[in-house]
Amino acid sequence: MIHVNEVPRQFKPGLKISDLAGEIKPDADLFIVNGHPVSPSLVLEDGDSCWLIRKGEKPSAEELERLLYARHTPGVHEKVKNASVGIMGLGGLGSLVAVALARVGVGHLLLADFDLVEPSNLNRQQYFIDQIGEKKIDALKDNLARINPYLLIETIDGILTEESIPLLFNEVDVLAECFDGAEMKAAAMRCALGPLAGKGFVGASGLAGYEDCNMIRTMKIRERVYLVGDNETAARPGRGLMAPRVGVAAHHQANQILRLLLGVP
């Protein structure tokens, strides 16, 4: 048995990878066997895992799904594919949480921000220099589509409030608080402990500067409610927000969101 683009296929002795391409994907111009590029004349062995690729071609939804399915622990892909996550604020935290969840294959993301991409964002946020001046919701949606075009990405353009959060995010499975300002972080936590009680919630506080990354932890506040950070290091003049620690905190958030979606107690 061999696998071709993650699909099992009977092994035939003496078969070359180019013969396989002739049968399945004649326009393939890149041949990968067991993770390494190989010449078209390579003779396959039983158990080989092959990828036939046309450079620059986008895999179909089915192919990409097979790839994610093969990469994930069994049972993970179905759960995340059917899950929905809301992300409030698309700065350093939110843009990275969104990218991590898109790569994992979370099927539905609801992204909210009011802001535009500015040059000062590029030191830590998942935008590119040619996106300066675009709305963050649009720029991030484009970037996520370049990672996985088969996800459902919805956006909310505007300023969120303590009153609007429970209404706008009532339907998501888990909500990520990725605001910049401490006042809105507190307001979002009040929503999580009040009107949204029972919903998964992962906030963040304390991630500026370049202190030890190991100070950043995931803390359980309540059943299904978590807070990530060191609780101390506020962003202020002389202690800015920088890619490494913001990235550590964002990925703590993304991992805790994944754990909530998978039902890890």
Binding site: C178, D180, A182, K185, A186, M189, L193, N231, L241
Partner: protein, 66 residues
């Protein structure tokens, strides 16, 4: 009177409000979530909400950056 704040017993003056307690702790009330006896207290209620003997208070402080 005695209250319990974040799991620790604390002696405070009678009639202290949540707003006053947070300010005494040198924190900005706008950046602190308060839960009193298991129920979330809304921000506009901090100045009027008086603590009483045995009140169990949980405060969560937030700092900016994201």
């Amino acid at each position: 009177m005695k209250i319990v704040c974040n799991g620790k017993e604390k002696e405070v003056r009678d009639g202290l409000t949540i707003e006053e307690l947070i300010v005494d702790l040198e924190l900005n009330p706008d950046t602190v979530v308060a839960e009193c006896n298991g129920a979330i207290v809304l921000r506009p209620d901090y100045p009027d909400r008086q603590l009483s003997e045995g009140s169990v208070l949980e405060l969560i402080r937030f700092v900016g950056g994201g």
